[in-house]
Amino acid sequence: MSDASINTKTVDAGYGDAGFGDYFALLKPRVMSLVVFTAFVGLLAAPGVVHPMIGFASILFIAVGGGASGALNMWWDADIDAVMKRTKSRPVPAGRIGADEAKALGITLSVFAVVMLWLASNIVAAGLLAFTIFFYVVIYTMWLKRWTPQNIVIGGASGAFPPMIGWAVATGGISVESVLMFAIIFVWTPPHFWALCLFMNSDYEKAGVPMLTVTHGRRVTRNHILAYTLVLVPIAIGAGFTSIGGPIYLAVAVVLNALFLIGAFRIWRRSEDAAVADKYRVEKKFFALSLFYLFGHFGAIMAQAALAPYGIGGW
């Protein structure tokens, strides 16, 4: 093989020439940041003391597990990612990383994260992480996403597990509080994503993903957003009366849930013509509020846990 042939091959190769940032992007760092935040809150809010090093390592392995499932999602969904504007620049559809490479990385990191979390903390936390990865990759990505408009509802469970895993790292088990943290994210996910779908509909339609807006129309989607918000409010406020709650959490929850309910009601009341006329201003505002809503609730749980040793907050 001549020097020239080596050079020509490598320059033209495409796959295998990705930078480090491309591999990092494969792990969906934005999703990972939410996983880290909610898992950390679960860990902090749980009773008992965890060695900081064990806590840090556990959160890291939870994040790696979340990232691994993101890589597997990109492997499986490479075809539809290539069609959607929002996702077509991802490493696999853009051709910087091969789909098989994404699969190999995803499987390797999944096993690595689960085993390391087990060694660092306990089998319950590791088992929950393994189930989360399985749920996101097999149940959501491979099965529900392309099959039912309820994909977001059931698939949302995978995004709701991290605080439960964090709680399990500290306690070695599951409790009402950790289930409530799960429930907040689980019921919050549908209105959050459906609001996004209302102003990103054409993209999902093009990719053939059966989002509620595509299969049942926007009127039904608006009804669903309000219905799920009505279910979410008592769960979010109810959590304030458990050991993870307290006056700070309750105050934040009441304000945020009132705003969320008003936003959902406005979306429900609106006609499609009105939404098109102002370029989905209310829907976009509701979507932004939904991000703040989740951050606010988990931030308040974290504040309660952080202030508890000083006798402030907590019941």
Binding site: S2, D3, A4, D17, A18, F20, H51, M53, I54
Partner: protein
């Protein structure tokens, strides 16, 4: 050695690709180094917090007697 100018250039020329590969190698090196440090830190934490303490034989025997 009688290497042509073109051939020598193809090895030494700094292509954008080589920068990316270098970045990838450095990144992987940092990740592996951090993992070693993390495992070391975890080991220290586990040992000092008593998670890895081996039960004394006498204590285990007593526990067995009680359970029987």
């Amino acid at each position: 050695m009688a290497l042509g100018v073109g051939n020598t250039m193809s090895f030494r020329e700094e292509h954008e690709l080589h920068k990316r590969r270098f970045g990838r190698n450095v990144g992987l090196g940092v990740v592996l180094g951090s993992f070693v440090a993390l495992v070391f830190g975890l080991t220290i934490a586990k040992v000092t917090s008593g998670d890895l303490a081996i039960q004394p034989a006498t204590q285990s025997a007593t526990q067995n007697e009680v359970s029987q």
